[in-house]
Symmetry: C2
């Protein structure tokens, strides 16, 4: 049981939400509200009333709700990368390393529940990311946001995993494409299992947890491809 903190760069916000109680409240309550309402129906006004503050105060931290979503997902990817670092740094064999990485990406690692993250409800956060993260880039402003460097978190994680893929099989020509595909698929398959079950064999009705099933699917997938 350890308490760490994930540091997010200045470019993601106007005022650091980790620097004040109000800021922390904005982030944690926005995760709850996005979970309840979905990103579209989530508004700063509703958030303000939920934390007994005002719209104006929230705008001092984030320009708009889209930037807040980018912040939240960046935090999530930074956390995934941190988890990967602590649980793989001691593993020498590349394929074991990759397996553990995939486990963490699929939320199927035993280590995940070990970490206490003050002010962040990880299970809620994961739900929000599964349902909403794609909206960070599925927007007409994608190039603008990308130019500001705001997708660094996702790209960095993708690259880190791709390096290990490359280690295992330097001849495989699509390491990044493969990793970005499984990063997306790990969310989509969980989402489909819950909402559009005919799109996947992964099912809530099976004994194994969703996360474990997704892991099995993706792990097989990756290793059949690169070996």
């Amino acid at each position: 049981m350890s308490a760490i903190s994930i540091v997010i760069e200045k470019k993601y916000y106007n005022k650091d939400p980790q620097s004040s109680d109000l800021g922390k409240n904005i982030v944690s309550t926005s995760i709850e509200l996005m979970n309840q309402l979905g990103f579209e129906l989530f508004t700063f006004k509703k958030l303000a009333s939920a934390i007994d503050s005002t719209e104006a105060s929230i705008y001092r931290y984030f320009d708009n709700k889209h930037k807040l979503l980018v912040y939240i997902t960046t935090w999530y990817w930074a956390w995934v990368e941190y988890m990967i670092d602590v649980s793989t740094h001691h593993i020498k064999a590349s394929d074991e390393k990759l397996k553990e990485m995939i486990k963490i990406i699929c939320h199927a690692s035993e280590h995940i529940s070990d970490i206490d993250m003050p002010g962040m409800q990880l299970s809620l956060l994961r739900k929000v990311v599964v349902s909403e993260a794609d909206k960070t880039y599925l927007t007409k402003q994608v190039d603008e946001i990308n130019n500001l460097g705001l997708f660094k978190g996702f790209k960095g994680l993708c690259h880190k995993v791709a390096l290990v893929v490359n280690d295992i099989n330097p001849a495989y020509p699509y390491p990044h494409a493969l990793v970005s595909t499984i990063l997306e698929a790990s969310h989509q398959q969980a989402f489909f299992a819950q909402h559009l079950p005919s799109l996947t064999e992964i099912s809530m009705k099976k004994k194994e947890s969703l996360e474990r099933q997704v892991y099995t699917f993706i792990e097989e997938f990756v290793f059949k491809l690169i070996r």
Copy 2:
């Protein structure tokens, strides 16, 4: 060169847009506008002024812009399924059949340009689907919409391809999960190549077309997995 028409069920609209000039105009102009503005900035008011009509008239065809997007993507999947039918019905070998299906899904088939689709600009439509289709289900109303049967088109296509996967290797345990993954990946990889190129080896700078590169990536992918 043939002219066919794709028929969409009543549940997708209030008034059949294929039944009038105004309706056709609504659909084809909405595709142009969504392409220019993106789904978020696209509004019925802008659409009305673009076709010299009124908001009220558009609402007579579609309840809201989300339903219009569902209609458009459903039309797209129905078209993909039609293309698959005509270009694979004569193929007996399952693996050849699957290859052709993947080609069409990736928009890399030679047959695609053969078909003349009156009132539908297929290349624009494809762009809209790549950027916006996920938003049909990434919404809090996903279960509601699913209960109305509005995801039948996507599910049907997924199942059709999954059956062929199952034919090739009945022991492979995840045919639907695999197919839904490649359906998504075929869009995502094209999107990444254009907007977030560090996430994929598929690149606009290579000689081969994006579509062809995506096809190569995904075809290898599928056959290594199921054989």
